[in-house]
Structure formats: C-alpha cells, structure tokens
C-alpha cells in the first residue's frame, strides 16, 4: 500500500490539520515508511481471535445520579482563548 499526496491531504483534512503541498510531499514519504512497518502484521492469521481493546476485563461502573461537581465555570473560562457572557466564542457558523 502506498499513499498518494492526495491521500495525505485527505487524511490531514480528516484530522483538521492544515497542510500545504510541500508538507504533504514530505509527510507522504514518512507515512509510507510507517505503513510499510505496519503492513508486516497483515500476514498474521487472526481468524477466530477476539480483538483485545483493553488490558483489564473491567465493567463500566455506575454511580448515584447526584451532582458531584462544584461550579468552576469562571476558573475554566479564565483560560479560554475567547469568552463573552459565560460563552466560548468561535467564528460564526450559522448565517
């Protein structure tokens, strides 16, 4: 398998990372080397093997449906790039 420069741009778009032509050229070579390494696992016969998502077989804990957090609104927004009236500001998305 080999990625083309267009593939690299598509992946970058999926990952929301701006990339220019020169960078996608350089990245293409590096990603292809890495995918060559990854490809070595394709030869392994894994029929009948259950995928392992996690090291421990743990169940999802439940807790009482009760408020456990205090209001830290101001502290969290103090480190935000742009806020107004308690809201996070982003460029307008709906006209």
């Amino acid at each position: 398998m080999s990625l083309s420069p267009d593939d690299v741009k598509r992946i970058a778009r999926l990952a929301r990372i701006e990339i220019d032509d020169a960078q996608s050229q350089a990245t293409q070579g590096q990603l292809n080397t890495i995918f060559d390494l990854i490809a070595t696992m394709q030869a392994v016969d894994t029929r009948g093997i259950a995928p392992m998502a996690h090291a421990q077989e743990v169940y999802q804990r439940l807790r009482e449906d009760a408020v456990t957090e205090s209001d830290r609104h101001a502290a969290f927004q103090a480190i935000a790039p742009a806020v107004e009236n308690g809201l996070y500001l982003v460029p307008k998305v709906i006209e």
Partner: protein
C-alpha cells in the same frame, strides 16, 4: 520505615528512606531540603533542560506546609521529601504544557489524581519536567521546549518520553520523579540515564488529570535511583479513583513488603526473542552478567518464547495513534490552549490552530490514527491490531506458567546522539521493541541499571512481571541492587 539492604553497598544518603529519616529526626527541614534541590536545579538546568517550569516560591510554600505537617505529628512516611512531576500531569496553578506549543499557555485549573496523592503525602513539587510532545517520542527531542541532554554525556539523548524526569533524577536535581509510560516512556529513559523506573499494571494508578495519549496503554509510575525508592513512591501513587473509569478497585498494598525476601527458588524467564539479532553486544553482556548475579542469589532461569512480540511495534503504531487521534481532537483552540491568531471560519480556525500548535511527530501520529480508523481501513488495521494484541498478551500468560518474572534488556542499545534518529521515525520507533509488549498486555514492567558500555553510558535491565506482581519485581530488583552498585553511580562533572 523500610529496612534497607542487609548488605550495605554505600546506599546514597539521598535515598527516599534516608531523606525521610532525616526529616523525621529534624536534622533537616523540608524547606532546607527543597532549597538545596532548587539550588542544584538553578545550577544544572540551563545546560540539561530537564525542567520546563520551576517555581521556587510555590515549591518553598509547599515545603513549609510539609514542615508544619511533620511538626503536627500526622505526617506520612515521605512527608517533606520533594519530587519532580512530568509536565503531563495537570497541576493546579502551574503551567502544564505536555511539551507542546498547543498547551504552552495552559495553567491547569485542577490537580491530576497523582498530584493530589503526592500533595496529600506532604511531598513538595520541585517543578514540571520536560518531555516529548504529548509523550510521543523516545528521545525527548520532540519537545516544543527543546531537547533534554543526557547527564552522562551532554551530546546524547536521555531517552523519552519521560526524558526530563530521567535526567533530573540522574543528575540528582530531584530525589525522585513521576513519569508516564505508553510504550516504554518510563523504562527506556530510566535505562538511558542509569536510574530505576517502574510502569505498574494498567489500572493501578489513576489517569485522571494525566493528559491522554493512548488511553488503553497510558500508565503513570515512579522514577528514582533505586527499587526501594520506587516501592515507597508506588505506595503513594496507587489506589482506586472513581474519576478514572479504568481505575481498579483493589485492597491497598505495601509495595515494599517483600523487598528483603531472599530470591532462592525464583524462576526467571528469558524470552529468546529479546536476545536475538538487533541487540547491542555490550547490552547483551551486561544483561547476561545480571542473570549470573541473580543465579548467585538463588534464582533459576528458564528459556521462554514471546513469539508474537516482534509484531508489537506495528500493532502499537496502529493502536496508539488511533487512540491519540481521538484523544487529541480536544485541542481545537476553543476552550484552552493555543488558538491561531487569524482564520477565515470555524474549520479554518481548527485546522490552523492544530497546524500551528502541534509538532511534526504529533501530526504524523494523529494522521496515522485518522487513517486507520477511517472507513474501509478499520478492519484491516485497527481490528487486526487488536487481535494481534491478544496474541501478544496470550504469549505472556503462557510464559508466566513457567516463570515468576521475565527478564531482558530494556532497550536494544544505549543512549544515542542528539539528532541521530530524529529524521527517521521508524528507526526511532524500533527503540521500544522490548518495552511495548508489556503495555499492550497491560503488565507491569521496570528498568534498573545493570552496567555501562565502553563509552560510559548506562545499560538498563528490564523486568516484566505478571499482573499485580509489582512487589515481587521490586523484591528482585532490590536484592540485585543490594549486591551491585550500578544504581548508586552518578555522572561525573556535574
């Protein structure tokens, strides 16, 4: 306090138990001790770059509080002993960068669980240590804040990603440090700098407030000169935390309880795959000598096979980037961290923010992750990797029927030159050949010093134990350190 070695081997006066004894006997105050380390940091950090943030005022205030705790008579065993924290742990009021431009302005609004634990134990923070960006690297060269130098040779890397933690302990700028290990990030830098480091069983230490890289693999652990130090730190760090959904509910253990046990009857498994081609001769010789030492202490050896371990690197470079691409999607310039100064619309703001905020290696891994999770590739990459992950874990389960602990090298070589591998990602990845399998299986692993190569660079020995066998591994490491002094050696000229 923990008993030290039955055989005295010039254990350093700066061991955690020795420092704790001096504090308890009022021979030194926590403030005085913290100041001594701050002075050493001020003298050495400009050349080593092991710390990203040092804040003497905060450190001394925490030390003064520790002195008050000791005076009250309610102090825990390590109260007053200072420690350095990897800059991956959110620390209330401290800059917490994760080695990235993306978080270069991020003052954490809360403490990670690990930080809460050390604060509750009365252990002042000496500062935040340098690291590979978002813990993605094996040399500390991907840090936005510059590479860390290896105290044994300033032209070489300290390993990574916990490179600052390793360097600051090796240079005795801190008596101990916290680290995190996703594919070897505690053990490989410990090996490269001649210190001891342990990655616990997955789930023993809470990940709450530890900036996530690959959540099914990430685990925090202690880094210090000796196994005894690591045991005492593990007593502080471990324990159930409802804020981490994968935190394990288990009875509290004393990880120092078995340090003094003799090793007679210990069965040491030697995986033939870890002694095959690619292993540096001097590293192999030092590991062989350590095996001989353990045999003198009564251990027996058995050859085992971890046949699928050769697939650990490809499997890891599917799973870890896949999890990272999801975890790092939170860095979008909206709620915290860097935001691009100029952009056309919302998507442009995300894309420019992330292009500017992330370094090259982090971008590569996010892109690999986005690709292997994308439509049409999920089964071939992500699912296949998860299946092989199980084969790797099964190999360990089989091996532990024949042995109590698995032993091998931590890394294929010793510390390499700065810049030597930074242009070749795959060459860099191969460094974690022996450490990644334990992360995939969720098993505890540790590295301890076992010698030096001809260039005077430290060599690391790795132990991998069965689930929850940390006390046994620390027992083996401590008994080895009672009859050797590799861990007590310090770099000259600092």
């Amino acid at each position: 306090m923990t008993p030290s070695c039955q055989v005295d081997n010039a254990m350093s006066e700066t061991s955690l138990s020795a420092l704790a004894a001096q504090l308890a006997a009022r021979q030194v105050s926590s403030r005085e001790l913290a100041q001594q380390y701050l002075d050493r940091i001020a003298a050495l950090n400009p050349s080593l770059n092991a710390f990203i943030t040092v804040d003497a005022g905060r450190t001394l205030a925490e030390a003064a509080a520790a002195d008050a705790l000791i005076a009250s008579g309610n102090a825990g065993p390590l109260a007053g002993v200072p420690i350095a924290h990897k800059d991956i742990f959110c620390t209330d009021g401290w800059l917490t960068t994760c080695g990235s431009k993306m978080l270069s302005n991020f003052i954490a609004p809360y403490d990670a669980h690990v930080i809460q634990r050390f604060k509750a134990a009365g252990m002042p923070s000496l500062g935040k240590t340098n690291m590979d960006e978002f813990a993605m690297g094996s040399s500390n060269e991907t840090s936005y804040f510059g590479a860390v130098k290896n105290p044994w040779d300033m032209t070489r890397v300290p390993g990574g990603s916990s490179g600052g933690a390793a360097a600051c302990v090796a240079a005795r700028m801190a008596p101990a440090a916290t680290g995190t290990d996703t594919g070897g990030s505690i053990r490989q830098p410990a090996a490269f700098t001649g210190i001891t480091g342990l990655k616990p069983t997955y789930g023993l230490v809470s990940r709450y407030g530890m900036i996530a890289f690959a959540s099914s693999l990430d685990q925090a652990g202690p880094m210090a000169p000796s196994a005894e130090d690591c045991a005492l730190l593990l007593n502080v760090m471990t324990g159930f935390d409802p804020n981490d959904s994968t935190s394990l509910e288990r009875d509290k253990e004393d990880y120092a309880r078995d340090l003094q046990k003799p090793l007679s009857g210990l069965r040491v498994g030697l995986p033939k795959e870890f002694f095959a081609t690619g292993l540096n001769n001097e590293v192999a010789a030092a590991v062989d000598a350590a095996v001989a030492e353990l045999k003198k202490l009564g251990a027996t050896t058995v050859e085992i096979s971890l046949a699928n371990s050769k697939l650990a690197i490809p499997v890891y470079y599917v799973l870890a980037p896949a999890e990272a691409s999801s975890n790092l999607s939170r860095f979008d310039g909206v709620r915290y961290g860097h935001r691009a100064p100029e952009y056309a619309d919302l998507n442009d703001m995300y894309s420019k923010t992330r292009a500017q905020g992330f370094g090259a290696e982090v971008k590569r891994r996010i892109m690999i992750g986005a690709y292997v999770l994308s439509h049409g590739y999920y089964d071939a990459y992500y699912l296949q990797a998860q299946k092989i992950r199980r084969l790797i874990a099964d190999d360990f389960n089989e091996a532990f029927k024949a042995c109590d602990v698995i032993l091998g090298p931590t890394a294929p070589g010793t510390a390499f030159k700065l810049g030597e591998k930074s242009d070749d990602p795959v060459e860099m990845y191969l460094n974690d050949l022996y450490t990644i399998p334990a992360n995939l299986a969720g098993l505890p692993g540790m590295s301890l010093p076992c010698g030096f190569d001809r260039q005077g660079l430290p060599i690391g020995l790795q132990l991998v134990g069965n689930y929850f066998s940390e006390a046994k591994m620390l027992n083996v490491a401590h008994q080895y350190q009672c009859v050797t002094d590799w861990h007590a050696r310090q770099p000259e000229g600092l």
